[in-house]
């Protein structure tokens, strides 16, 4: 099992409906330095495809998507370009 990713900044968008989680992430990335690692916490299942899609289009790096079994949310890790 790989070591958990250490995020520089956690974006807690749990409870927010689409497009809240992705927009919360975009808002933070907008002002972040290159190389910043974000953990986006989301309870919205659609985040698992729309976040990676945007990350790829914007040229950032998707590090991992971790589902927290029993807790009902996902952590999506992104490193800014």
């Amino acid at each position: 099992m790989s070591a958990p990713i250490e995020a520089d900044e956690v974006v807690d968008a749990r409870g927010a409906a689409c497009p809240g989680p992705l927009m919360d992430l975009i808002g933070k990335v907008r002002t972040a330095d290159a190389g910043t690692v974000f953990e986006l916490q989301t309870t919205d299942s659609s985040s698992s495809h729309d976040v990676p899609e945007w990350v790829e289009k914007a040229g950032h790096e998707l590090l991992d998507i971790v589902e927290h079994d029993g807790e009902g949310y996902w952590s999506i890790y992104v490193r800014t370009a």
């Binding site: 409870g15 927009m23 907008r30 945007w54």
Partner: protein, 380 residues
């Protein structure tokens, strides 16, 4: 001992709430057991959905405003002033230029702010219809626009009136066709995520409408900077989009008052989404745009939330256990042109059905625009 209820904000939420409370607590107000104060920074109440029509010359700004004093019950004390802070421990509201206002129940319904300056070049290079001046300036620009590329770019999400950007391009399409200019005007709509709207069913419906009406759809567009000289939108995704007339939904922001009072991050009040009671303070509620709930920033939301909070506060004043809760109910008309509309209705987590647009629903919207003042008075 007199219970003091203070409502901050004279928009839809504030006016509906103050009037509902005056109605629910009429006897207590008459006996002096309750005081009800509405603090608002403007003597005028504005019906913001009218701005969309102003941009197309269909309404005037004068039709969108009425004095708050004419809309609220005579038992509501009205103070025109700017709230500057909340001490949630001492339960006191600071209002500029006057002594602090003590409260037992405080409701924040202070809306949100437009912050176009967050996108460099936007204020100089783009138009909007989210405020009175912007709507009038856009009206003049549209009336002179006879050919070229019209771009509607949704920059700020969340934003007020969730369907308004879709409505704008659909009305613009119809408006230019009727004026015989549509072949000379290219229309593009951009949205920051991977579809045309945050609500999936609205996105699906709009995508079909756009395709049928030759409106270009660009997704994953997050403007980073506008070049007003070259008329180019530079995006976070590394792309460029040229325009002749840019209409943007500007970034929106919450309130410093909220952050400084410790009521929520980024200026939005953290609340229980059912009771609308603040998470970080007793006796504080938030409704309307400033409340951080997972639904749209729409007037109907403020309206329904106001009814819930009025019920809950009235119950507490009477020593009863409040039972009213907000279920996320949201209703939005969606104009699909100059004489047809549809509407969506949904609650928390629901996916609304989008019905076929009709003249009947458009007339319903026009009728609502006229009867809105009854809503503000708490009658509808």
């Amino acid at each position: 001992m007199t219970e003091r209820i203070v409502v901050v904000g004279g928009g839809t939420g504030g006016c509906v709430l103050a009037n509902r409370l005056a109605d629910d607590l009429g006897p207590e107000l008459d006996r002096g057991e309750v005081e009800l104060l509405l603090v608002t920074d403007s003597p005028q109440h504005v019906y913001k959905p009218a701005f969309l029509y102003v941009a197309f010359g269909e309404r005037t700004l004068a039709e969108a405003e009425r004095p708050v004093a004419d809309l609220v019950d005579r038992r509501v004390r009205l103070r025109i002033g700017t709230a500057t802070g909340v001490d949630t421990d001492a339960k006191r509201l600071a209002v500029a230029g006057t002594t602090d206002v003590p409260y037992d129940h405080l409701v924040l319904t202070i809306g949100c702010q437009l912050v176009p300056e967050e996108t460099p070049g936007l204020a100089e290079g783009g138009h909007h219809f989210y405020g009175p001046d912007g709507a009038e300036t856009l009206r003049d620009a549209l009336s002179e626009f006879t050919e070229g590329h019209l771009v509607l770019s949704v920059i700020g999400v969340p934003h007020m009136c969730p369907a308004a950007p879709l409505e704008f391009v659909l009305i613009a399409d119809d408006w230019f066709r009727r004026r015989g200019l549509r072949d000379d005007v290219e229309i593009t709509y951009t949205y920051p995520i991977g579809r045309a709207h945050g609500i999936q069913s609205l996105a699906d419906w709009a995508t079909g409408e756009f395709a049928a009406r030759d409106i270009h759809l660009e997704t994953f567009v997050n403007p980073e900077e506008i070049d007003p000289e070259e008329r180019i939108v530079h995006t976070m995704e590394g792309e460029e989009l040229s325009y002749d007339l840019l209409v943007a939904i500007p970034p929106h922001a919450g309130s410093d008052l909220v952050s400084e009072a410790g009521l929520g991050d980024d200026g939005w009040v953290a609340v229980d989404r059912g009771t609308l009671e603040a998470t970080h303070a007793d006796g504080v509620y938030a409704i309307g745009d400033v409340a951080d709930v997972p639904t749209s920033k729409a007037g109907s939301v403020a309206h329904y939330e106001a009814s819930v909070v009025a019920d809950r506060i009235a119950s507490r004043v009477r020593g009863e256990t409040p039972t009213a809760t907000y279920d996320g109910k949201t209703v939005c008309f969606v104009e699909s042109g100059l004489d047809e509309a549809t509407f969506v209705e949904f609650g928390y987590g629901d996916e609304p059905a989008v019905r076929e647009p009709s003249r009947f629903v458009h007339w319903g919207k026009l009728a609502y625009n006229e009867s809105y003042w009854l809503t503000a008075r708490g009658l509808l």
